[in-house]
Amino acid sequence: MIELQNITVRFGGVTALDAVSVVFDAPVSGIIGPNGAGKTTTMNVISGFLPSSGQIACDGEVISHQAPHQRARWGLRRSFQREQLADDLSVLDNLRVILDELPGSRRDKVADMDRALEVTGLALKAHTLAARLNTYERRLADVARCLVGRPRIVMFDEPAGGLTPDETQHLGDLILQIHGLTGAATLVIDHDVDLITRICEQTLVLDFGRRIAMGPTAMVLADPLVQAAYLGLEELG
């Protein structure tokens, strides 16, 4: 369960998030909204990259006072809208960076990484330099990074961007497995409404930094406010 309480973020005069309060209690939840609505900003706040007012908690544990790297060690994982694997490390080493910072025996860590590579189907590419991966493989590696080291919150920022429908399908399946494998709560931002509909039980809709809807995904998408602001259905109609 992820709780955001009264989160406000300002950039100079612009209010990117305006007193947003929300509780995500599904295994996989979505965040949607028009461009610039504040979705990425929300993830950045959760990661601790941006100063904000308000409070962030997970399963009752407040994490908003922690530095970003402490949150990561605590169990926060995320991908970026512009993915950011270390190009001069192998896929395996990209995972190992996370485990390096965590306690645990070497053997457990190796097993942990093996499982992540197995699940994502990257086992054969484990020793390939990240620079050699194509877009899809990089997304898979992102997922693998989110599987290691006992994650508690996992966040994906537009994971399906630039993927083909089949790749999106497969990636969606992987994301759905995360909760079962690790117990982590997952947040997904994407503009692919089909993907959100398929994998997210509940969805938050932001517009101009404000929460305009929250609830079961199907219900939220049927909301006329959401349709007007995001899907543009009536405009087309």
Partner: protein
């Protein structure tokens, strides 16, 4: 009157990322380029734009050869490319980004051209003074497309047009493409959302690992999706 790519090969670090690819688009037509990841579509776009060296092949615009020309000459020749990954001039404001993209227009043309882009993307108009680097991913994508539109091109190449854009915007863009095509612009559209691409395309090219696997009318792919499937797997 067409943008013609013939026998194009692109080599990067000893690997042939694009191998003898030929395709063309006429003024007022849309060619969709489809294919799974790593097919070499982005490299193709960059090569046409003059951003990657070409190992072999010819590219011509309305009969004039442009292969080997630097990017600014290619754009002056009327070909505007939107590269993948919403690239913007991060330290310049939105307004300056658009103005500088209008460098080849006559001085009095710049204002109206900027206004047109703002009309298409009111989201940008609200943020004229904001530094482009601080905008959200989708906003940067709009700006990146705005760059290309500023040149009032004869041919437009867009790599991953819908990447990071809200459905509402994608719909709006599709209509814009259609109206550009009506005005006689030739468009090459690289898309993962095949639906979107095929809804506007007249012809289609399907690529896989650097090769062309299919080239023909778009309608055929719409009716026979197995062509695509073959290219994807």
């Amino acid at each position: 009157m067409a943008l013609i790519i013939e026998d194009l090969t692109v080599v990067k670090q000893g690997r042939e990322l694009v191998r003898s690819v030929s395709m063309s688009v006429e003024r007022g037509q849309v060619t969709a380029v489809l294919g799974a990841n790593g097919a070499g579509k982005s490299e193709l776009v960059l090569a046409v734009a003059g951003m990657l060296p070409i190992a072999q092949g010819h590219i011509s615009v309305d009969g004039r050869a442009i292969q080997g020309c630097p990017p600014d000459v290619v754009r002056l020749a009327g070909v505007a490319a939107v590269p993948e990954g919403h690239r913007v001039l991060s330290k310049l404001s939105v307004d300056d980004n658009l103005r500088v993209a209008g460098s080849m227009l006559a001085g009095d043309q710049v204002g109206p051209a900027v206004a047109e882009v703002y009309a298409l993307f009111p989201e940008l108009a609200e943020r004229q003074r904001q530094l482009a680097g601080t905008m959200s991913g989708g906003q940067q994508q709009m700006l990146s497309i705005g760059h290309a539109l500023m040149a009032r091109p004869k041919y437009l190449l867009i790599d991953e047009m819908s990447l990071g854009l809200a459905p509402l915007i994608v719909k709006r863009l599709v209509r814009t493409i259609e109206s550009l095509v009506d005005k006689g612009v030739g468009v090459i559209l690289v898309e993962q959302f095949t639906e979107v691409a095929l809804s506007v395309a007249t012809s289609a090219v399907v690529m896989r690992t650097g090769d062309v696997r299919y080239s023909g009318p778009a309608s055929e792919i719409r009716t026979r999706p197995e062509i695509l499937e073959a290219a994807y797997f």
